[in-house]
Symmetry: D2
Subunit: 324 residues, 4 copies
């Protein structure tokens, strides 16, 4: 059981509370505004009678800061808002490896009216022998090309020591599906001062996903964007099974915006378009799309990367699909 | 290995083929236009040199009659076509139990422009103690009310002995999720002379689902409508996980129309609307909706049944969501 | 809500009960000893004050006749008991197709001390083009060979019309994994007068599996043997994922014996041995093994069929693995 | 495509190889003994004609260093060998929080002949409000108590910065299920100089698990012990579904020892015993057991922790369950 204390508490009120708690159970952890008890006490609601208490969280409760009922985070980057009615399109290559192609892709995206550009510089790859990105140099290239075109940048951070270099160059940090349970990374991102896209782990329940967001929020960062990217099921002919229902469910249960990644969810460019349409009709706040000017030559995940013409088709359809 | 013979084959050509096959393997089953061999023969393509051969199906092949490339079945009922561009809305109660409410619901649906009405008269229930439908009497009531209003009827058939009474009263027969693997039932439906809605089993792969359709087609019925109704995953807060990707995948792989049942896929009326929108945007051919005039009093599945007002909201949105 | 009445009830007591129930809710179904109400009444326990009431089953309850606490069914066939401490080994080919090989296999099994022989005569195959068994003729052959050797026979029944011919020749009827939800078949088996092996559906929960058993029990047959045969998960390198935990869980929750089929659970003869050992150490009541004298030539599922030498190795190990 | 070079290569041979490769494809990454190409070259086997080449790994290959065929790692700690026929029992509390109870448990384990003791000092908890361990102080306490009793210590490392303090006090480092995909952590553990227990992620395929082990091996650490701890399926009445088949499959496919954690796999002490027996009969190399002298008061995971008496029962049974 966790007890959150009010921001301003009189000594006497706090002492009175502690006195009661210690008669009821064992405190196993204590911070300035937070007490952790080994077990739920028999009648948790009694605690609200104490002036020092802001919130009581029992084992039954799951999240508190990111749940529905809280105010939606204001995520605004150079005038662009995420999650308040606008549909945010984030597009770009999976991995940055060729400066020439990156620049061409960036220009093409910009011409299509795209404001947010994604690009991976360091990736977690299942095989230690797979290509895992060009690292810091690619980061600088990405940032400088984006700056020229006034694009907002999105890139994945794979471990805590990358947070500082990333925040120098990147506007929105992404936590990949393999890191959703990496709580030390989430804790470190609590102080990053950048909005975080939190991808769902491949078999995470809705509750675990929200609790990962809660880890971020507790650590000090409430600018969280959930990202559905497909789950693992018994069906293997697509890379993953896109869970479109997660979109309205998360909008019901949490205060956070949610975007959808049809590229990783399907792993097949033929299905990126219909699933993008589906997600928008279901109420998603944005799309995270793998796009290149010349997808066939992408070094990683080429089969799921759409080209500019396909992006244009998506962009044309979207406005009519938004359900008010 | 299966060898399908041409419709018109000269005796001599057939004899020549048999002679060759018998030198290569063992025939374990024989019908007029179909031969089954115990094993694939070493070079199957050689068979196409024989004039009698229409198609060779090896163990690697999955379906043949229902695959993409075949002509789409013409399913037309009293002037209403399924699967050729129109969006088919099938609405009605899960279970028929009260004649008065059924009549009121039917009138309300008809006023909304609904042409297809669903209603269960005999249900498979997981618990032997659950209410499983009112049976034959309900069937007659349903048919007579539908006739007055010129509604096309859809109802589930749960075992072969129900096929004859059902075909007397019902226009489209439905195979429920628990019966997708019930091949004796599918075989019997091959001769039913009614279009069949084939629901996906709760953990069926795409291939198994298509092969169940193939069972129907081989048995003589090609008027098959696939129905996605959610799959079982590790997430339990919805009844099932709707697999929206199944819609474009099945349109790519098969020649069959596909509809979607958001009521059973989610089990929660709050999510029926956004998932209906998503399915339509993903290209679905129709929706199968649980609707009642007064959902709270439905004896089965009340939590997922929408009311007429919600149906009206869905109907209003749909036209703009259809992606050409 | 279901109310089961006592076997001997006085008219007056029954009338009194009905009077009360009708004041509380709506009876939607009535049999001699069973009443079904549309909804649970507010205070179900009050019903136990009525003399006519044997048991009240609310929506929360799952099973009643097959749960732990009931007496274990006495399943004894010609002196051989299943589920009371002995380990029952059922062995034989997946499918009966060649009389000569069947006879040789039967003799070999008998020499190894096997008392129960399995053999399929009619199979549900995912593809309509797959070989599905030799039918009634094979049944008679199987029964006659078994009789000579005093073997107890086990075979799968795939639809209700097969029950009568099967019960003439077969000692134990098996319900396959695809038929676990086929309640009309289970109901028909309620009167078959033969013990039934009930295989778990490929993604059935423990509760659904027990409720399928309850369908059988309610229909009049309590000689039920559960059979775990692997579940469907995201891992595809084995045909299924054997759920060994189901063994102790079902022994905890139900009164039924449980056997294990390592052949279908793994689909790979190399893993049949270690999984057989695991199941026995976990407390299983029996094994259902695919065995042939010459597995390589088996027409169906050859890759999972062990030979007599492997069976002998298993049989030698088993006694030391039984944990008291 | 990856090309591993031989340890001793003549300049001229290496130059010749590079010359050929550059004519065939693009090198995207280069280390002293390792070359990464963007794509597989058309005929990989030709490379073996070059003297400098030790091994060629195409996209089809999965692992190389940890696969079957390699020699089994020699993991010996103060005379105790893991994975060469002996059954390794690792027992202890989930989390270390009370020095008194820890000491009592350690003494009790030692008296039972246990040589390996586990204990968590820093845990990843799904909820940010859950108790997550006592940290460094607990580590020192654990190490000092273990030293007195000559116990070998096992503890989980949750992030790279913990590796140094852990290696000072702990003999075997454990990577938890949430960190199996944390490749930066695995890479850091490559130089830790301690054997690593690698738990399977909750929905990892066999291939992903082996590739995580390969990450460790490539980074320089081959003293790897796989640990099966249950997978996530649709069944929720146990915490996880223990995958006993993983034991023989991993022994077939890899050169690594494999242990089993029945405590987390089931989450229920009633099922820890039968699943331990099953794993041993299936050929496991060891068990990782949650044991305390007084399980009811354990602050985390109390429901799955067995007591000393239950441990004693397991220890007594095991010898007869080992199948040669």
């Amino acid at each position: 059981m966790i007890i959150l204390l009010k921001h301003k508490v009189r000594e006497a009120d706090q002492r009175q509370l502690l006195h009661y708690i210690e008669s009821q159970g064992e405190i196993i952890h204590k911070e300035e505004k937070l007490l952790v008890l080994r077990e739920d006490i028999p009648e948790p609601d009694i605690l609200y009678r104490y002036k020092a208490v802001a919130k009581v969280i029992t084992r039954q409760s799951s999240c508190t800061l990111v749940c529905a009922g809280n105010s939606k985070p204001e995520i605004v980057i150079r005038g662009n808002t995420i999650g308040h009615g606008d549909l945010t399109i984030i597009a770009g290559p999976c991995t940055i490896d060729d400066t020439g192609r990156l620049r061409e892709t960036a220009h093409a995206l910009s011409e299509e009216g795209i404001k947010f550009m994604r690009g991976g510089v360091q990736k977690l790859r299942t095989s230690p022998y797979s290509y895992s990105g060009a690292g810091l140099k690619a980061l600088e290239t990405f940032a400088s090309i984006a700056k020229e075109l006034e694009l907002i940048t999105v890139s994945e951070v794979i471990s805590p020591e990358w947070i500082v270099p990333m925040t120098e160059h990147i506007d929105i940090l992404q936590v990949g599906t393999r890191n959703m349970y990496n709580y030390p990374l989430l804790k470190a991102l609590g102080k990053a001062g950048r909005p975080v896209i939190l991808k769902r782990a491949v078999s995470a329940t809705y509750k675990e996903w929200l609790l990962a967001a809660e880890h971020l929020a507790v650590a000090g960062n409430r600018e969280i964007i959930l990202c559905e990217r497909g789950i693992r099921t018994f069906e293997t002919s697509l890379r993953n099974t896109p869970d479109i229902a997660a979109i309205p469910v998360m909008k019901e249960r949490s205060c956070l915006p949610i975007i959808f990644d049809p590229s990783h969810a399907t792993g097949d460019r033929r299905f990126v378009l219909p699933l993008s349409y589906a997600a928008v009709a279901a109420g998603v706040d944005g799309l995270l799309l793998e796009v290149e000017i010349n997808p066939q030559s992408a070094p990683v995940d080429g089969g799921q990367t759409i080209n500019i013409e396909e992006l244009r088709r998506i962009m044309r359809k979207l406005p009519s699909l938004i359900v008010q």
